[in-house]
Symmetry: C7
Subunit: 284 residues, 7 copies
Amino acid sequence: MTRIVNQFSKWLGAIDWDAFWGNVISIGIRIAILVVLYFIIKYAGRKIIRSFFKKYRANQAVSNGRADTLEGLTNNVFGYVLFFTFAILILQNFMNVTAIIAGAGVMSLAIAFGAQGLVSDVVTGFFILLERQLDVGDSITIDAVNGIVENLGLRTTQVRDFDGTLHFIPNRQIMIVSNHSRGNMRVLVDVAVSPTADTEKAMRIINDVCQAMKEHNKNIVETPVVLGVESSDGANMIIRVVGKAVNGEQLNVKRDLLKEIRTALIAGGIELPLPTVVTTPQTT
Amino acid sequence: MTRIVNQFSKWLGAIDWDAFWGNVISIGIRIAILVVLYFIIKYAGRKIIRSFFKKYRANQAVSNGRADTLEGLTNNVFGYVLFFTFAILILQNFMNVTAIIAGAGVMSLAIAFGAQGLVSDVVTGFFILLERQLDVGDSITIDAVNGIVENLGLRTTQVRDFDGTLHFIPNRQIMIVSNHSRGNMRVLVDVAVSPTADTEKAMRIINDVCQAMKEHNKNIVETPVVLGVESSDGANMIIRVVGKAVNGEQLNVKRDLLKEIRTALIAGGIELPLPTVVTTPQTT
Amino acid sequence: MTRIVNQFSKWLGAIDWDAFWGNVISIGIRIAILVVLYFIIKYAGRKIIRSFFKKYRANQAVSNGRADTLEGLTNNVFGYVLFFTFAILILQNFMNVTAIIAGAGVMSLAIAFGAQGLVSDVVTGFFILLERQLDVGDSITIDAVNGIVENLGLRTTQVRDFDGTLHFIPNRQIMIVSNHSRGNMRVLVDVAVSPTADTEKAMRIINDVCQAMKEHNKNIVETPVVLGVESSDGANMIIRVVGKAVNGEQLNVKRDLLKEIRTALIAGGIELPLPTVVTTPQTT
Amino acid sequence: MTRIVNQFSKWLGAIDWDAFWGNVISIGIRIAILVVLYFIIKYAGRKIIRSFFKKYRANQAVSNGRADTLEGLTNNVFGYVLFFTFAILILQNFMNVTAIIAGAGVMSLAIAFGAQGLVSDVVTGFFILLERQLDVGDSITIDAVNGIVENLGLRTTQVRDFDGTLHFIPNRQIMIVSNHSRGNMRVLVDVAVSPTADTEKAMRIINDVCQAMKEHNKNIVETPVVLGVESSDGANMIIRVVGKAVNGEQLNVKRDLLKEIRTALIAGGIELPLPTVVTTPQTT
Amino acid sequence: MTRIVNQFSKWLGAIDWDAFWGNVISIGIRIAILVVLYFIIKYAGRKIIRSFFKKYRANQAVSNGRADTLEGLTNNVFGYVLFFTFAILILQNFMNVTAIIAGAGVMSLAIAFGAQGLVSDVVTGFFILLERQLDVGDSITIDAVNGIVENLGLRTTQVRDFDGTLHFIPNRQIMIVSNHSRGNMRVLVDVAVSPTADTEKAMRIINDVCQAMKEHNKNIVETPVVLGVESSDGANMIIRVVGKAVNGEQLNVKRDLLKEIRTALIAGGIELPLPTVVTTPQTT
Amino acid sequence: MTRIVNQFSKWLGAIDWDAFWGNVISIGIRIAILVVLYFIIKYAGRKIIRSFFKKYRANQAVSNGRADTLEGLTNNVFGYVLFFTFAILILQNFMNVTAIIAGAGVMSLAIAFGAQGLVSDVVTGFFILLERQLDVGDSITIDAVNGIVENLGLRTTQVRDFDGTLHFIPNRQIMIVSNHSRGNMRVLVDVAVSPTADTEKAMRIINDVCQAMKEHNKNIVETPVVLGVESSDGANMIIRVVGKAVNGEQLNVKRDLLKEIRTALIAGGIELPLPTVVTTPQTT
Amino acid sequence: MTRIVNQFSKWLGAIDWDAFWGNVISIGIRIAILVVLYFIIKYAGRKIIRSFFKKYRANQAVSNGRADTLEGLTNNVFGYVLFFTFAILILQNFMNVTAIIAGAGVMSLAIAFGAQGLVSDVVTGFFILLERQLDVGDSITIDAVNGIVENLGLRTTQVRDFDGTLHFIPNRQIMIVSNHSRGNMRVLVDVAVSPTADTEKAMRIINDVCQAMKEHNKNIVETPVVLGVESSDGANMIIRVVGKAVNGEQLNVKRDLLKEIRTALIAGGIELPLPTVVTTPQTT
């Protein structure tokens, strides 16, 4: 038992308490100053960025989406740079951060392996911005995610799904970007009529509807035309109609076209497809 | 045989028994002190963290979910740091841990390879927190997992499935986070009526129901409206209705809407879709 | 021919036979001692571990599953450490193991590549234990494997399938752990009635059954309630009921609920869904 | 408190403010000059490239698509080289960029890992150009993307989908390029007649239609011929017809052929396939 | 022409023919001796292993499967060690094998990359043996392979499929081992009756059959019991029965149970499920 | 402001304009000479290759496909070697290419990572040629691509699809090559008759048809024979016939056989399979 | 202009034309000699190998397949070794091949990455041979490829598909080898009868057929027996029969058994399964 006490008192006696507490206080003060500085710079920075982009939008002829993208990204980059600068400054009080980052031991190697994902994120994000693949407000599809871009960050892109969900996609996950907000969109309607219907007449009626619609719907960029009989079997004959609409309006144009054609075909006496048997797979 | 004995006694004689036992006892004492210290610090630390977050929640305007997230993570980080600090201190009595970690031989390489998953976990977890992708209590989808976030740790995120299962997801497995608790959610109802029904009248009835519902249901943020005829075949005509509801209430609003529209359509004399043939695949 | 003999006798003559046999015997003795020691220590160690965990279970308030997990793991770790320590001690008599492990040639590199799977196993296993993701006896799902945990080892986890199969899963294969033994479980019943049935009355009957059942079945934690009409088509109207049950009893509660609701609905005169056509795909 | 003031004033006093501000101004001037230069060179470069390709197109016998591809790529490469040259020149004022790029620490390794995707993009893009796999305006299929090439860049290829979507494909994602704009395309029509129809007569009629069509449709490169009965069951007999059309016209030729053959078969008294039962899977 | 002759004779003249032929003969002799030695040692070794395992099986209480596994593996390891030892000894006569293996040039690197699969095989195989995941004769499932283990080698495991095919699986391909030969197996029978049948009576009949069967079939370890109504729709009501049987007998027990229950239900007047429509997809 | 001017004039003054312009001119001249040389050598090389292969084809007994393959490849290799030789010679005027290629910094590492795909392409392409897996004109399947080989290059293989599309496949993507142009091909016909038909008689008729066909169709290498009843259900009995045809003619032989057998069976009074219900999945 | 001429003549003047041409001729001669030597050795080697294997087959008791495998491989290895030896000898005249292979710059690294596939091929091929997983003539399944082994090379294995296609499989692609030519094969017949048939009688009839067949068909190794009722539904009752046949004859035995059992059942008055509705999915 005396052994334990000896050992312990030897340990305690070996500590220079004055230096210890002096050190603790000195480090505490330095950290406090750094934290205060961090919040001051952060607040000032955000303010400057906001006012800058206000002028940028007012003076120059940049699209709104682009300005939002750049403001979001500037905030994002500014926040990360500030955060990591002060994080390293504070950590420097406890350990030699530079040595770890520049070292070549196991830990450094593990960090390098682990951090490559992060670097990939930043590199990819950088090129997505530079090549203007995305702007805030664009309707896009990335992999299985589908929605409106809300924010383009250095590391993640935020996409708001049409059902309200917010997706966070690490930039390195973004391989093929399919941007639905770049130019006019196709309107494709497959009209089904009975296989015994008068094909020529049906095509004429459909073309008339398209022509009429083009005149009073300014969202139609290219008048839809009948391409021909796409396929035909015992129950249906499919007639394909293709046109172009203003970006974002293609679904509305399609719905209107579908309704108008249907009405016109019925009025013109063209038989619709044969009745179908509906099957529902069921499990209790 | 004498050879064996000689060999053996030579081995035994070569050991300095005094130093050996002295060493054993000295190491034992040091380990005992470390273990006691570990439990004291752990207990004190947990207490301090709890009281700190109690004040934090009382004083400041942080959301509850965020506070839970931060408290959970602080506990988690504190626990890991403490555990590994003392584990290394104790192991130091047996082998040169620093040398192994900083070394460059086969074992170090193997460790680096093996540990990169761990580093990826921590890096990803860190950014998930920093970018506020998740808060405790959020309803999320990660890959095939679907549920409520219970805990966000340095290495794993715990998600409680809606059926009660608890999923442990290593952070590096978290690629695309789909957060369903960020803003209003869409309500989409596809109403099926008979293809021979009066489309205009049906749409009018549905729109009336939506209007009426909006007035006495404050969970509806955006009045649902009829978009138009989505599709039509020999057995069904689908009319699509879209609106917005308060986050978390979208399913209830949808169910109510479905019931009300059905009742109104029947009352209004709109025929429902044709009866269907139900098929059940069977295996004995 | 003389050349062959010369060559051969030159080789034989170059060997110092005395030293050779002396060496062989000396190594043999050393190995014999090591093997005996190995079995002694193994036997003693197992005994100590068993008696320790006996006391541990008796004295302290640890769950049985946790104690089983720890005892299994302690045995597993002890066995591996002992085995590899003696394996290296024995191999040291034939080659310089340390040099190979610490070397940097082709073989070392190949070993490092090959062994990284092993390191991943141990690292993952360690964190699964530390984070209490699994206990022996838990019902879990890992990837496509489904069953009761039988043993949690340093390198592999053993899961007993419900059909009796024993699965050995290397720990590194364990990504998302879905633990079904942590808290109450949901009971979800989808009741199918005829689309022409009286919805309000059906819901009332179902709610009464749920209420009655809650009173005499103490495995129900949260009384099941009708959520509403989930969907409806020409053959079925689905009414969803959701409640909560004690962990492990959810399937029994569901079966009882299903039977009771069926009986009550028939008694209440609610029509069941339309008869279905059963289709069986056949191959001879 | 005095301690903090002391510490702080010590820090402030240690800074050589003259040198600091001199440095700041000097760097500011250098950056301003670089930025101005960047925009001048960029403007001039674009102008030179445009005028060069104008002459190139006028004087020489290069296809339009190839000229577009080369102009787009030259602009792209010029933009990247300029951007990175000036980015490095500007960054050089703040840190030693060369050292980081040439270094061998953790950060360099992480960069190397992260940047390999970029290098793969450039290498692949380079060979796609060199081997003329794509030209601007070609109709192509890459993986699941299908459309017209709009731009071939050093890092990404832009493909305009037929529905108007713009796809950005990183070049390294481009594995197998399927180019539909290189030579004549096959026209394949599967004609379905009743299994009880007179096969020989049907084939004769179809061959006559093909022959007649070839004469007045100059998009047909190779007269379609009947290959024979492809398959036959209780409801259909399939007769396959194969020919060749000018690139881009194969679908129109197919539609015309389908219509003409149908008309001729009906006129010739060949029975069409038996009526079919149409099944529609339905979900409400 | 004289140039060629000069060049050639210069080459020939530069060769020391005596040393060349001496070298060739000397190497030839050495290789011959090594080959003879190889076959002698191989023959002796196999004999010793066989006689050792004969005694091992006679004296000790090891299961037959385990003894087969160990004998197969010992032969396998002995064969590989012998083969590679002599292969290196023979190759040493032509090139410096050690230098290549220990080197760090391109070839070594390529070998290390290529050989990592081999190392993974051996490491995994080693642990499969140590953890007794497989024994010769076990019925197992590995990935998509299903059968009886025939041999467990250092590099490959041989599994005999139930249809007679022999699968060779490299050990590194073995991830999750599902061993069907470790303990009793579940017997699960889903009995289908008409949805209009008397449920209570049917359950009673089934339970009686199970009870009766348990008495005269000693392969049943746990009497099968009715769990309840699993599901119910317009054509079937499924009643689930679960019990346990001796390992390997579960399928026979299931078949017997199915036949007995069927007979009893028919005798008891319980209606069987409604007749089904069988559909056969057909292609000619 | 004066500061900026000073700075700027200092920069300008520091440049030795004479040396600068001299350098620019000198480099320009060297590049011009290299470009001219490049085109001369390229033109000459192509000519030599063409004339060489003309003789090669005339004089020797090599298959046409092989000669095409070799000529294409020689052109391809010659083009690449020439291009890169001159590219490096030209780039040497601007930077130290050798140093970059041989260096070991971040950029080199990134290049090595990025270029490994290229090396894999060349290595694989080399072995495909050496092992004669493909010849120009062969009908092959690689992964999902199906067609005729048009060109076999050092880096990519070009395959012309049967519908006219040209596929560019990087050689490293070529794993399993399935070559359909190496030897005779099987002809397999599954004849469907009614399950109530006279099996023996049907088989006899089919065998007679096969025998007769063999006599006047020299594309049949091995007379087709009836293997037996492959399967049988309520609607069809399938009789399998297998033979062999000259490579490339198997589909024609199959079509002829199918037609002849059908005619013979009808003539022989064998009932065909029962009429089928045709189902068409439909979406509007 | 004079500048260009100067520059050019300076370059030309700097070349020692004598040494240049001398070098060219000397290298040409050396290459010519090497090429001639290559063809001589290749011819001689092939001859020696052929004669050796002729004797090998005559004298010793090795299976034909094994001898084919070894002869093919010896030719393959001999060809590769010869080819690469001379390729390196010839290339040595132009560049320092050894330096490149042993170097550590970017190119070496790229080669190492690119060549690892090659090394994997050889290593895997080597073990496939050593472990006798394949012999020429074996019927095997590797991944999705199915056929008869034609050749086993150092780098690729050639498999002839049953339809005549020749597959080239790189050895590294060979993971699980399923060899169908190692021992007797199972014969499994599922006999379908009407659910209303007399089960006991049907089983008796089937067993009698099996017994009778065993007697006069020597390809049956194990008499097929009825296992019992495998499953039963409204349209079919499946009775499973299992036996064993000589390797390669299992399909013929199965076809015969199917025919005999069918005949016997009809003769015995057992009803066959109910008629089925055949559905054919159709697209025009």
